[in-house]
Structures are given as structure tokens and as C-alpha cells.
Symmetry: C2
Subunit: 240 residues, 2 copies
């Protein structure tokens, strides 16, 4: 680039294009996070990483994930990646999988598929249409941002499981998502929240989401407090 233009950019009298910003970032070997900050400040969309968790990055994150999962006990908590694949979960969360088709548990546990597949949790979710609608909306939102073909395929698949929910237009999404589900013959009521790590500079970790189910009524609270899953922990761990 010309020194003339560089000078103008530096003094703020010329607005650099997205291309130039990326060139400079590369030239200076800026860390991803800083590059994204710079792009945002310049009015451009950030670069999205490859959202593939290599084993090393994941291993480094495991300790933190365990902290969060244990800290949320006895509230069922799942850590998922941007394709809704389960990275890890606490025992309370695995308790949900009792009674689902084993085929869904072997081939890479996926929360979306597990929740919406007829052989998964679908038949036991009392507010299925509401839950499925919100989940699909959330997935489509992430799809817009990542443009991930694999996620697109997952959404297409899931929409066949919840045809009515797929057709409903996205209403204003809430931070919390109610979930009513029958477990061991009892209908439990949860509030599902999704959070993500905010300080992560390592972009890979920021692509993990933490889904926690909080009890929404007294009955559920008591059931969770009793930790009814501890006497079959051996069964559950076998599923993973």
C-alpha cells in the first residue's frame, strides 16, 4: 500500500476498507480477537473462525468446563459447540437420556437431534412446539452467522422432526426457554438458559455454549435436590 494512504488511515482521515484491515492485521500478525475488535470498530463484520475444536484447545478448556458443570450441579447442564454437539455434561443432564433410542446416544451426542427426534426426548416434552420453535430459531440465528453447511444440514433434519414448529415464524426470542418434560413418569418444569464464555480470547472456547436447566417450580426443585440419578450413574456413563 502507499505511504500516503497509510498516513491518512493512521490519522483517521481515510476509512480503510475491510480488505485493507485484514491485510494489515495479517502483516502485524494480530491475534484473532484484536482483529475482530478492529473490524467491528471499522464498521465491518468480524471474521468467524473455523469453529472446529481441535483436540489441544479442547483439552485446555476441559478443566474450566468441569468447573462450570460441577458448579451447576444439581441443575442439568450441557456444554455444546456451535453444531449443538455435546462436548460435556454433568450427571444431571445425562439423566435425561434415560429411555431414548440408544442409536441417538452413540453417534456423537447432539442436543438438537436428541431433543427433537421422535425416538429422543420429543414424546416426553410437553411443550414440544414451543420448545422446538425456539430451538430452531436459535439454530437458524447461529447459521446466519457461521454459514456452516453442517449446521444447515442439521437444521434441515430437525425441521422434519418438528414440521409445525418449523413453519411458525420466529417470534421475539427470549433469553430463557421454558421446557416441560416427563421423566420417570413425573412432569418436570425447567427454564433453559444459554450462556457463553465472554472473556475467551481463544476463539475456540468462545464457541462453546453452556445450557443450564433451572427448576421452574417447587416440585422440580425438590426432585433435583434429591439427585435421583446417582443410583444409576454407572448406566449413564456407559452411554458416553
Amino acid at each position: 500500500m502507499s505511504t500516503r494512504h497509510l498516513s491518512c488511515v493512521e490519522t483517521g482521515r481515510a476509512k480503510p476498507s475491510r480488505e485493507l484491515l485484514l491485510y494489515l492485521a495479517d502483516e502485524f500478525e494480530m491475534p484473532k480477537r484484536a482483529v475482530n475488535d478492529m473490524l467491528l470498530a471499522g464498521g465491518f463484520a468480524p471474521v468467524f473462525s473455523e469453529y472446529s475444536l481441535d483436540d489441544d484447545a479442547l483439552a485446555a478448556a476441559r478443566d474450566v468446563i468441569r468447573l462450570v458443570l460441577d458448579g451447576n450441579d444439581p441443575n442439568p447442564t450441557t456444554v455444546i459447540d456451535t453444531r449443538w454437539n455435546v462436548v460435556d455434561a454433568n450427571t444431571a443432564a445425562f439423566w435425561f437420556t434415560a429411555g431414548v433410542d440408544p442409536a441417538l446416544l452413540t453417534t456423537g451426542l447432539n442436543v438438537a437431534r436428541l431433543s427433537l427426534h421422535p425416538d429422543g426426548l420429543a414424546s416426553r416434552v410437553t411443550n414440544f412446539d414451543e420448545y422446538a420453535g425456539q430451538l430452531l430459531r436459535h439454530m437458524r440465528h447461529v447459521l446466519v452467522l457461521t454459514q456452516d453447511d453442517e449446521l444447515r444440514a442439521l437444521i434441515d433434519e430437525c425441521e422434519t422432526y418438528a414440521p409445525t414448529a418449523a413453519r411458525t415464524m420466529p417470534t421475539a426470542p427470549d433469553v430463557v426457554l421454558p421446557l416441560r418434560i416427563v421423566i420417570d413418569g413425573v412432569e418436570l418444569s425447567f427454564l433453559s438458559t444459554v450462556t457463553t464464555f465472554g472473556t475467551a480470547q481463544d476463539v475456540t472456547l468462545s464457541e462453546l455454549s453452556i445450557e443450564t436447566l433451572y427448576p421452574a417450580d417447587q416440585t422440580t426443585r425438590e426432585v433435583l435436590a434429591a439427585r435421583p440419578w446417582i443410583d444409576r450413574e454407572s448406566d449413564l456413563s456407559a452411554a458416553v
Copy 2:
């Protein structure tokens, strides 16, 4: 706008400018979330909301916040806005404020000021430089996104409290931020994680962040499990 250009935009043979996208979004009265999705998909930076929860939205969020705070007990947890003001916190978190200058507690509790101010926690934080450096780095990151003058002022103020930390260049920040602090004469060791509601790709900062301190060693774990703050809960609630 001309029908000609609209047609081209619709069929994808013309790339609309950020301005045009915003015009269309306004014309169709699109919800903010969808507008941001559209901008991102078009390669532009999203519109940042006013990141001030109006009273109604905040009231609606309070229930969820309480769920999260209670769910994390006994791990000290604080919910803050994008200016590090405390929106709410669980009792364990308020336990930290014992012994700080009451002036810091009355004028709107601010985590950054509380942590870094000499009359706050600073003197009791054993790894002050490390902690302050990371905190400032995080604040500067949010500042880039929000361009909030009030936050800028807070950062300037905090940098005077931690001059050495302010000068250190931002190293690669960690996923978790270690915090060692002396409470009741005992040095406790924590790992601080910050999470936010929503998805990672949601560049629009959700207005609220959740900071949770997990015990980093056995001693701290045991102290927390004993909940040493319950016998002065009355003092603490008076502070808020």
C-alpha cells in the same frame, strides 16, 4: 430507492450497502436481533443496542438472574452490566465486600472500581497486577465494541488505581482469570469466569454478564461449602 436496485438486491446480483440495509430494516420494522443478523450476513458490523436495560426489561430479567445466582451458590457470583455496575449478586459475592470503604458500596456498586480502588479489595488481592491487567484488558475490549463514554471514563479512572497493570501490554488473556484474595485473614484462591447470555457469535453484547468465582483449591472449596457468610447476612443486605 429504485425498483431496479431493489430487484437486484433481492436476486443477489447487487450487494446492498450498510446504509441501505438499515433503511430497509427500518422500513420493515425488523426486530433488532434480525437486523444484526442481516448486517452480519452482509459483511457489516451490527448495530449495538443502547445496552441499557430499561426498567421493564430488567424486571423481566430479574427472575432469570435470581435463578442463575441461586444456582451457583455457594460460588460467589455477580451479574453486571456493560459498565461493570452490579445488577445483582448472591450472598457469597457480597461476602467479599466486608471491610471495604462504605463509600464504594453506596454510590452504585461497581465491580471494577470495587476491585481496583485502594480502599476496595485491592489491598487484599494477592495477585493484583495480574488480575487488574486482565480486567482492564477486558474492559478495553468491551469499550471498542460499545464506544461508551461512560465506560471510557471508568477505565481511565481504574487505570489510575492500577498504573503498572495499565501499562502492561495486553498479553494473551486466559479463559479463566485467577484471583487470590485474603478474606477473614485467610488467602483464598479462585478462578473467575465471565459468561454472557446468548450465543458466542452474537457480537452484540448482551447487556448482562455473569461473573462466577469457582474455588481453585481444596481449602477454598471447603470454606465456601461452610458458607461463612450466612451469620452476617443482615449486615450485607443493608449494604445494598
